[in-house]
């Protein structure tokens, strides 16, 4: 099973523990990439979120835990996403400088989520020039690189601290369990058992 490192990992481990799956060593304290668990047939790998769907789609990992934002951005073709784990909740939003008004027919949008942004603005009938950035989106409107941003918003504190306000919610995000299609067939009983036991504990932590 491929897990997304960072905040999602921190919230995934207690959920797995509730479902009776525990790594045999402390993931936070190790530099290893693959971890054995108390189940012989299940190993955990800890990787970047954007890499999780890739591993699962190729069948290198049979299952994965990844944010819905990644699935929306990169597409979920060839994957099953049977379960909302209800963890690492946040919102994917457009945001702009306080008091921002649309001028003209085009907007410049800075974002890490280029596909989602393009789709969102197209659905509004707005032509968006999407500028792909890898971090600190809030900086782009301040430096006049972009008019608006599309980003993950948790508390909204970073936005406020930089004189910006959230505008519209594109999607509410949480982590999903994803499954490789071929693995679902070849290890049906095992994987369905795991989905059932995780689904039983969703919302408990």
């Amino acid at each position: 099973m491929a897990l997304t490192k960072g905040r999602i990992l921190k919230e995934t481990l207690p959920l797995l523990a509730r479902a009776g799956i525990e790594p045999l060593e402390d993931i936070a304290k190790s530099r290893k990439l693959i971890f054995a668990t108390n189940h012989d047939a299940l190993q955990l790998v800890v990787i970047r979120g954007t890499d999780v769907p890739t591993y699962v789609r190729h069948g290198a990992a049979e299952l994965g835990v990844v944010g819905k934002d990644i699935l929306l951005e990169h597409g979920a073709e060839g994957l099953y996403e049977p379960l909302d784990l209800g963890i690492a909740r946040c919102r994917l939003m457009t945001a702009g400088p306080v008091g921002w008004q649309a001028r003209g027919s085009r907007v410049r949008v800075a974002t890490k989520f280029a596909n989602i942004a393009r789709r969102h603005f197209a659905a509004q009938g707005v032509h968006a020039d999407v500028i792909k950035l890898y971090g600190a989106m809030e900086l782009a409107p301040m430096m006049n690189l972009a008019d608006l941003i599309v980003d993950i918003v948790d508390t909204g504190n970073t936005l406020r601290a930089n004189g910006m306000a959230p505008l519209a919610e594109i999607a509410s995000i949480s982590s999903r369990l994803i499954v490789n299609k071929a693995a679902m067939r070849s290890h049906y009983a095992h994987i369905q058992g795991l989905i059932d036991s995780l689904s039983a504990v969703v919302g408990e932590v």
């Binding site: 890739t54 789609r57 499954v179 071929a182």
Partner: protein, 389 residues
């Protein structure tokens, strides 16, 4: 372009080198012989056709997958085939125009504008068989058996057969009466088996309808799924039961010949939903993230060629099959012969080649490394002797 890059091939386009080409060609011959022995006649459709005949409703994916160009002779748009099935359907519907059952098979290169899955080839070699003119389950069973025999030939014994029927979803959908936009969202969520997205898409619907559609999410797994489907749909959507019965019969027929085969049912498998009209199936092998072969019933596709015919068939990709073999060593066992015109030698070499041996002339330098024997003249006779390597 720097000369350094000239060797480079486009992404997803590969050449097949000797060791693997041997395997691919052997497989191609074995499979075409297999199909011939089942009564499937070989056809060789052209590499390109007018897009009007290539894109005949076998899915919008095919539209995007097809390379196009303008025909300098007619000014019409030509497409390079991305799938051979529509061509074979045309041959059945128009070129042969027989009224009874027609069984056809084919093997050929196709081109895809983009890879169908990660790391998939954009120039697969498609091999398949199609059966036209019979709308009974017996035809579905025959084609599934032939697909399984295909994988047997290739040496894949541990496989999972995936069975589905578009009729189940069709009936449930007709019962629910969704509008176009919502249907697209529901379809998308079902393909991903995403319960949360499906519940979101149906949030304001009648709870009974929600229960039926989300019920599809659980209808995958072993044969107990069919009983589950009967329980779920018996009262609300009796139209779906015919499809469930069809699946049961097909599964039973396959089981009679292959008691040990793992069969996985998935009543929400919607691959090719827009053109499939009945049983759909696929074969999966361990450690291969994609289906290795797939097919299904696609009745009435021939209608655009003015003859609607029942149709079912399957296809696989020889290059995908090839990746499952690890071939590295070169074939040994060839015979080295001196490069002479001596009548005795020429005759002997001819005999050996006719008998299936590989005889390689030793031009200059040492014998080809594939040779383990050589022809040596002893008392006016050419004899085979071991070659020390």
């Amino acid at each position: 372009m720097a000369t350094v890059d000239r060797w480079q091939l486009p992404d997803g386009v590969e050449e097949v080198l000797p060791a693997q080409a041997l395997v691919v060609e052997r497989l191609r011959r074995q499979l075409l012989d297999l199909y011939r022995s089942w009564g499937y006649q070989l056809v060789i459709p052209p590499l390109m056709e007018f897009t009007e005949s290539l894109l005949i409703g076998l899915g919008s994916d095919l539209d995007l997958l097809t390379f196009r160009m303008t025909d300098q002779l007619s000014g019409r748009t030509l497409g390079i085939r991305a799938d051979i099935t529509p061509q074979v359907a045309r041959i059945d519907a128009h070129s042969l125009a027989e009224t009874g059952i027609t069984r056809l098979c084919y093997a050929g290169s196709t081109l895809h504008t983009r890879p169908q899955s990660l790391l998939a080839s954009r120039s697969p070699i498609q091999v398949g068989a199609e059966l036209y003119g019979d709308d009974t389950l017996a035809a579905d069973v025959e084609v599934i058996r032939l697909m399984l025999a295909t994988l047997d030939t290739v040496g894949m014994h541990e496989m999972t057969l995936d069975l589905g029927h578009v009729g189940v979803y069709e009936a449930v959908l007709a019962n629910a009466g969704l509008d176009g936009e919502r249907e697209a969202t529901v379809f998308d969520a079902l393909q991903r088996k995403s319960r949360p997205d499906l519940e979101l898409a149906l949030a304001d619907m009648d709870p009974a309808i929600i229960r039926l559609i989300t019920g599809l999410l659980d209808l995958h797994g072993d044969e107990s799924v069919l009983d589950g489907a009967r329980a779920t749909f018996a009262e609300a959507v009796p139209e779906a039961l015919a499809a469930v019965d069809a699946l049961q019969q097909v599964a039973a027929a396959i089981r009679r010949l292959r008691p040990g085969l793992t069969i996985y049912f998935d009543l929400a498998e919607l691959r090719g939903y827009h053109y499939h009209t009945g049983i759909v199936f696929a074969a999966y092998v361990p450690d291969h993230g994609q289906a290795l072969a797939n097919g299904g019933r696609y009745n009435n596709v021939g209608k655009v060629f003015s003859r609607a015919r029942p149709a079912t068939g399957f296809a696989t990709d020889l290059k995908a099959l090839m990746t499952l073999f690890s071939v590295t060593q070169i074939e040994r066992g060839a015979i080295s012969a001196p490069d002479l015109d001596t009548p005795g030698l020429v005759a002997r070499v001819g005999e050996l080649r006719a008998a299936g041996e590989v005889v390689i002339s030793c031009l200059s330098g040492s014998p080809d490394p594939r040779c383990d024997r050589q022809l040596v003249e002893v008392d006016n006779e050419w004899l085979l002797q071991p070659l020390q390597s």
